[in-house]
């Protein structure tokens, strides 16, 4: 499972990096999205990988080693919300830029040949 997860994170982040280096705004935002997915998975993995373990115990005095770490789960939730909001904001900007400049190049103008 560790291998699957790390390959998934690596491939997504790599694809994201490639995409944000491209000149079109759509490629840029897709790259940002892929990278944020990869980062969210990565945060998750930092709580170590657990299968079918509850994060919170109803009764005290149990062995905490049998429970998944709840903190990264909380972190990833916050990160998803914030990432979603900022990406949506950027999407609005991209649409605005498209309308104002008539180009979907990230510089707001087509490169001069």
């Amino acid at each position: 499972m560790e291998l699957t997860l790390s390959i998934a994170v690596g491939v997504m982040f790599g694809a994201g990096v490639w995409l944000i280096l491209r000149p079109r705004t759509f490629q840029l935002i897709t790259g940002l999205l892929l990278m944020s997915y990869a980062v969210n998975l990565f945060i998750f993995a930092m709580g170590r990988l657990w299968v079918a373990q509850p994060p919170i115990t109803p009764t005290p005095a149990v062995d905490p080693a049998l429970f998944a770490d709840p903190v990264p789960q909380g972190l990833v939730l916050t990160a998803i919300v914030i990432g979603f909001a900022t990406t949506a904001l950027y999407l609005v900007m991209i649409i605005g830029a498209r309308g104002l400049t008539g180009s979907d190049h990230v510089d707001g103008e087509e490169p001069r040949e």
Partner: protein, 540 residues
Amino acid sequence: MSALPWMQHLIVVPVLLPLLVGALLIPVAQNRHGFKFAASAVSGVLLWLLSLALLGMADGGHWPDGIGVYLASNWAAPFGIALMVDRLSALMLVLTSTIALAALVFGARRWDRVGVHFHSLFQFLLMGLNGAFLTNDLFNLFVFFEVMLAASYGLVLHGYNLRRIQAGMQYVAVNLVASLLFLIGVSLIYGATGTLNIADLTLRVAALGPQDTYLLRIGASVLALAFLTKGAMWPLGFWLPTTYAAASPPVAAMLVLMTKVGVYALLRVWLAVFGDAAGELEGFGLAALSVGGMATLLFGAVGMLASQDGGRMAGYGAIISSGTLLAVLGHSGSAVLASGLYYLIGSTLAMAAFMLLIELTERIRPPGAALLAITMEAFAIEDKPEDPVGVGIPGTLAFLGLSFVACALVISGMPPLSGFVAKFSLFHALLAMPGRVPPATWLLIALMLLAGLAAIIALMRLGVRTFWASGAVTPPRLQISEVLPVGGLVALCVALTLQAGAVFDYLSRTVDGLARSGSYTERVLGEPPVMRPAGGEVAR
């Protein structure tokens, strides 16, 4: 000062007040400019008074060791989020609220009307800044950074025109990637140490095994990349000059402050985590910071010479100021920190004044008016802001010229203003360090002098072109609300020079406090939750 129970809650007010005011202003109709400005200004003044009060409390023995801790929701420290105010964060709060007040007043007659929701966004920006200065939790720092950045995206685009959109696209994209790096860094640090509370980190770092130490090093380096992108270290700061030049003046003044947030966060985390309690990790990465800072200085100096318009020049000025701070911090840790902080205060005030001033001086040359007209058309604003007719204060040219000279003196570090005092004390502290003076120190001093020279040449060229060589000069008409903030900030620079002794006393107490990581962890982790008066359980 007597300790009243409610005074503890003052720590959280700099975050809550702008949040409330900003949120309440959203539903207010866009054409009620007067009301919006009044609400925003009241919040600004209250924040200013509050930050002064917090500074007094931190420095006046109200709390033991000058560190006030506020446990959010009454959760004890490593589990909940602790807000913490010490002399350094109180100082940054005062700086923030001062510049915010100046920017608000400056924008009152014109700039808050070229787009929608200026005051709400401005208040959210203040919330993010204040929160970033107060928090003691890495993930909470991320959240406040995002609040600040989201508001700044809106403000940079405020008064939507082609130039702002082009600059904003790059600014937002760079910062979104930096935020991802921030997350990676934070989660790596959590994975290595199992905590996000900075005070708790201080305790755990020394006891880490070799594998976790390795993870921590990577995590801290990635985190530093995110901070340094905000702080515009070369080669992470290419976005800065374009963005500063494109943003409207009040926003640009606030952006100057935002580069300092990056430096502050770096300082806070590094001194706590890699300070005297870190064992073999003490001083990790400072050499890289020193080299990067020097490269930034050089980049800023060259850029300053190459730039033609005032906005870009100011952007490179901010880069020089960041570079100086980073190089000095990296070079000698906390030894010369007091001088560095003095430099930070002076240069931030002067850069903010300069940002506001540039727009006023550009009125001597008319093309600015055409730009505004296009803006308003693109945004379909119905009620035109009054043209800057105003009362026409006598001697506007003299005022503009004198303010320009004062800013230029501080930015380039020439006597007699605070820039010179700061540089002189930096050199003195660098050369007075024990042992032989290494070549790197000489290089740093040479670079700082070179940057000062570049700044004075560039600013002189701009000044000559603006005031002397622009042909038939018609004195621009200024509003009182535009003169006051610039004059006030310049006056503060002068006051900072006159009161240098008192300020340095305060700063050396600040640095003393920062150097004692033991008392810091004790204060934050030892803060007891408030007991309920009768029955009930305390959250733990």
